[in-house]
């Protein structure tokens, strides 16, 4: 899922300073799974903001609303009334959702309450880890299921680099070295000779490097 973190409280407070009536949007999908912007987190942030503003002598009215998703028109179109009623929307959805709502309601500011970070998985309750950078040309079969683009800090295709130590990456002692993981897999499956193959250059044009991307399925267009 897309993983995000709530922005620091002081930043959020600054974003909504000019407003007396806002709607706080969440999302029932990715940001719920990573405990950043689901119904619970929306409630909590709304409560904090109300108390903060009361304390400052500038009370604020916050309407809480958590649509199923923020990235499909079906779920964003019905938000019209709530948004019309408010001066601004503060959104805990991911960057996609924040933008999409903004695209539908161009006359109201739609402000980010979170920093959207990565596409990842849940390792355990409360811990999420990055897995995919969306390079557009998946070679997970070649590296036995471990992505060198995302999990290697240098996106090496013929790693590891000289900084791999004790199975960890030089950038962060908590981060496993992707190439250690890949080599371990090769060993487990008796394929270590595959390691000698020189992986060719990556064509980055399928990634964001080629420009913002769009996908179309003509057979689905109405």
């Amino acid at each position: 899922m897309i993983v995000a973190n709530r922005k620091p409280f002081e930043e959020i407070v600054e974003l909504i300073r000019p407003y007396k009536k806002i709607v706080l949007l969440g999302c029932n999908e990715c940001v719920t799974v990573c405990a950043t912007g689901g119904a619970k987190e929306v409630e909590v942030l709304a409560s904090e903001l109300r108390m903060y503003r009361e304390k400052e002598g500038q009370p604020i009215e916050i309407k809480e609303h958590v649509p199923e998703r923020n990235c499909d028109p079906e779920y964003v179109e019905p938000l019209g009334a709530i948004i019309a009623d408010a001066e601004a929307a503060l959104s805990m959805a991911c960057g996609c959702g924040i933008q999409f709502v903004g695209e539908h309601y161009i006359d109201k500011p739609v402000l980010p309450a979170v920093n959207t970070t990565f596409d990842g998985v849940t390792l355990e309750h409360g811990v999420w880890s990055e897995r995919c950078l969306g390079c557009g040309n998946c070679i997970l079969d070649k590296t036995l299921g471990i992505c060198p683009v995302t999990r290697c800090a240098k996106s090496l295709f013929n790693g590891p680099c000289g900084g791999s130590h004790d199975g960890k990456c030089e950038v962060n002692a908590e981060t496993p070295c992707a190439w250690q993981l890949i080599v371990d897999r090769y060993k487990e499956r008796n394929m270590l000779d595959k390691y000698l193959e020189i992986q060719p250059l990556k064509n980055w044009s399928t990634a964001h490097h080629g420009g913002p991307r769009t996908r179309v399925r003509e057979d689905l267009k109405l």
Binding site: L156, G159, P160, S164, H165
Partner: protein, 305 residues
Amino acid sequence: MSASNLERVLRSGAFAVTSECGPPRGADGEVIKKKAGLLKGYVDAINITDNQTSVVRMSSAASCFILKGLGFDPVLQMVCRDRNRIALQSDILGAAAVGISNILCLSGDHQCFGDHAGAKNVFDIDSIQLVAAVKQLRDEGKFLGGEELKAARPDMFIGCAENPFGDPFEIRAMRLAKKAAAGAQFVQTQCIFNVPKFEKWMEMVRDIGVHEKMYILAGITPFKSIGMARYMQKSVPGMDVPEDQIERLKGVPKEKVAEEGIKIAIETIQRLRQVKGVAGVHIMAIEWEEKVPEIVEGAKLLPRP
């Protein structure tokens, strides 16, 4: 064979000596001249580092150009961290055009270690692909995109680095084999303090015949102080400093520590010369270039061929 002096020395079978200079953190070519001046007659080639540890310094290419003008044989170090394949190929052609004959292809330390941790990194291609790129430009006269060069091919002696102490240990020899297969002709290793572990790595390397496919230069760094030794042991990625060497430094009076560090370096060179497959040494005396002559002389490596 390229015009590289280093290549000439290695091919002749003589034990090669290279060293390195870190360029200044400013636009002053005099610093390079001074540092190199200390090494004249003691080394076969001089490496110039490329924004090492992601700390911004005067460019390796410009520094190599200055060295060339002074009659040295520079080794252009090139990392993949800061330049994409377009810039890398361009810089290779430029270096060759001004007479630089040696290139060392590296991944590059991550930018988090340096003074611009918020910078975007590149890593368009990796060090092995860079080795292959130089070889392709030189031998096939083709750019990575497939088009033919329209002017002279870059004539370069291609090198790479390897860390015998990096993990996973068991593939480190295979990794060197990959670099040789990609076209690397010489390798300079990370500095060696743990000689037994290095000997083990060399055994693995010899087992797959890599020592016959490329020239292996063993890295040496003298300890200037106990603090430096400790720092390298704890804070530098991929470094293996055995505790007994630090004990040795602690065992001498404070004013003799640097001297002891030099002694250790000389002894290490002498031990490494005995290891089959080691074709030379690469002395990295960081901010202590003035000691290189003493080390080269002490290890009985004079005169240079």
